[in-house]
């Protein structure tokens, strides 16, 4: 699957630094980067995942994704403890481009402050943010 055009699913929450969160249950979420982020970066060639068990802080960098000539910090939309990382991206970093909301996910987190979700944008708000940029 590839996504040639901008796409921002309605079931996700967005951070203004172009990261998304998918809430799973009461206190888990999956993070990734948005279509806009992967498009700006170009073809992703490398993802350096954080360690499972580490913590992520809302608005802080938790990993890097690289294209040939750029490095982009990945920002955590919410705080928590990393319970799983997407190891498959080691061999297929292109999934971040091809399927940013699916196989291109980056980490799964056990949230320590689920209420932070309230500060994130919904798809409509995020689209508006991009239009005004």
């Amino acid at each position: 699957m590839t996504l040639p055009d901008a796409n921002y699913p309605d079931d996700l929450l967005y951070h203004d630094q172009h990261d998304w969160a998918r809430l799973e249950g009461d206190d888990h979420a999956v993070f990734g980067i948005t279509w806009y982020a992967q498009d700006s970066l170009g073809e992703v060639v490398f993802y350096d995942p954080p360690e499972v068990g580490g913590t992520v802080d809302k608005d802080a960098t938790y990993a890097e994704v690289e294209s040939v000539k750029a490095v982009s910090d990945v920002i955590a939309p919410m705080s928590g403890e990393i319970v799983e990382v997407n190891d498959a991206l080691e061999d297929t970093p292109e999934k971040v481009n091809e399927d940013p909301y699916g196989e291109g996910w980056l980490v799964k987190v056990r949230l320590t402050a689920p209420e932070e979700a309230g500060a994130l944008l919904d798809a409509g708000e995020y689209r508006k943010l991009l239009e005004n940029a």
Binding site: V45, F46, D48, E66, S67, V68, K69, A70, V71
Partner: protein
């Protein structure tokens, strides 16, 4: 007009008119007036090409080089024969005058040389990853420290005293900047003291630095020494001499995480110390922490094989303050010289040269150790350089040999106070048996004279300074 510019008065007038100014002085008005030089630099007038040549020839003539003196000095740089094709190829405009290959479509020659060089260095050291070259040897050692810190998040280096003194000092200089501690481990019988090394390495150690052959010429038992590093999760960094790897076990087969060194012996002249290059090889695990340029293979849009600079996100022009290193030079021309030299030697020639060096070195060591007043400083195995003790002031012995046209070696006392009587002697394929025999005779005569004995060689013409 200077020799290298070509704007005629007519050109200048046209150009100034196109710019819309009356003189170049107007262009310099952006420099605040008080900062504009109002008088010429206090430098001589320009000279003709012939005059410059004569002036520099006159300076060169005041040096005693390896054509005038038989050179047994090594200590990191060696008087090897550089094959003629190295000069012929390295002086081609196409290799001499381009910049770094930022436009790969028109830089395939240089990029492919880097790729071939990386392959050769990887083969020599027995490690899978090589960069395209660093500045030179000792600063490559310091770069390995920076890598080890990033890889281990630790800030302590354990360093053998057998590591080249310049490498140890350079590592210390850099370590002050990036905030690491350097702990030194002494030598015993010419080799790194294994017990002291094991005791010095701990869970805070980022890397252990060895050199083999070490500064005293001893071939170190790298694998055994490296155990302490492995046990504590520290990287094992091994500096080596690329001219010995045709015969010696490569660092990569002895547990080294990083193998590096001074590349000068391969295809590069002495040049009073530079330019040369440093080589830097590592395990697969360190590929994204490597310093320097790396060429990689790929295809063009038509499917044709080509080469580009790979893994550039490590580098300063992209990652800026988070770069793995600040370096942007690869010593490409020096690395080319090395590659051509290695191709010229070839697989068999490279091994044969290594064997030749070992045999002549062992011969020279035995021959010199038999000279009265001369003994071995250590009995460890050697490959191309060895250390002696003289029963006479080393500087005065060296002076006497110099008067006979022989640079007898490197005085160890310069950097090792504990070996004030030590002399380091280096062998290359240029040092013939006859020259080694001459050295034995000269050394014997010089030591004897300094010891107040009657000169062994009655033909020696050095009446001054007897006793």
């Amino acid at each position: 007009m200077t020799r290298y510019t070509s704007a005629t008065p007519a050109d200048r007038a046209e150009m100034l008119a196109a710019i819309g100014v009356g003189s170049t002085a107007e262009l310099f008005e952006q420099v605040p007036e008080p900062l504009r030089l109002d008088c010429p630099l206090k430098l001589p007038e320009g000279m003709s090409e012939a005059e410059v040549f004569e002036r520099l020839s006159a300076l060169a003539a005041r040096n005693v080089d390896a054509e005038e003196q038989v050179c047994f000095v090594g200590a990191g740089m060696y008087d090897h024969y550089v094959p003629a094709i190295v000069d012929a190829i390295a002086q081609r405009s196409e290799f001499l005058t381009p910049y770094t290959p930022y436009q790969p479509e028109i830089s395939q020659g240089g990029l492919q040389v880097m790729f071939e060089f990386q392959t050769a260095m990887s083969e020599l050291t027995g490690l899978p990853v090589s960069n395209a070259g660093l500045y030179e040897g000792p600063s490559s050692v310091a770069s390995a420290g920076y890598l080890a810190m990033a890889a281990t998040k630790r800030r302590r280096f354990v360093v053998s005293r057998g590591l080249h003194p310049h490498s140890r000092e350079t590592l210390e200089t850099y370590a002050v900047g990036y905030g690491a501690e350097v702990v030194e481990v002494g030598l015993s019988g010419g080799e790194t003291d294994a017990g002291a090394l094991a005791a010095a390495v701990d869970g805070e150690t980022a890397a252990v630095f060895l050199q083999s052959p070490n500064f005293l010429g001893a071939v170190e038992r790298v694998e055994a020494l490296g155990v302490a590093a492995k046990e504590h999760g520290a990287l094992l960094v091994v500096a080596t001499d690329p001219m010995t790897l045709g015969v010696l076990k490569p660092p990569g087969e002895q547990g080294a995480d990083i193998a590096l060194g001074e590349g000068q012996p391969l295809g590069n002249r002495l040049d009073f110390g530079g330019p040369s290059f440093g080589f830097f090889c590592a395990t697969e695990e360190q590929i994204r922490r490597m310093p320097g340029r790396i060429a990689g293979e790929t295809d063009d849009v038509d499917g044709r094989r080509g080469f580009v600079l790979a893994l550039q996100t490590r580098e300063q022009h992209i990652r800026r303050e988070k770069a793995t290193h600040n370096i942007c030079t690869a010593q490409a021309l020096n690395a080319l010289a090395a590659m051509v030299h290695l191709a010229w030697l070839g697989r068999e020639g490279y091994r044969e040269l290594g064997e030749l060096l070992v045999r002549r070195t062992v011969y020279a060591r035995e021959r010199l150790a038999a000279v009265p007043g001369v003994e071995l400083l250590h009995e460890a195995p050697v490959a191309r350089e060895f250390a002696l003790r003289l029963d006479a002031p080393v500087d005065r012995v060296l002076e006497r040999c110099a008067e006979r046209g022989i640079a007898a070696g490197y005085p160890l006392g310069r950097e090792y106070p504990e070996y004030e009587d030590g002399l380091l002697v280096a062998i290359t394929e240029r040092r013939t048996k006859a020259q080694i025999d001459d050295l034995a005779e000269a050394l014997g005569a010089a030591v004897a004279t300094e010891r107040g004995e009657f000169p062994v060689d009655i033909t020696e013409k050095s009446p001054q300074g007897v006793g």
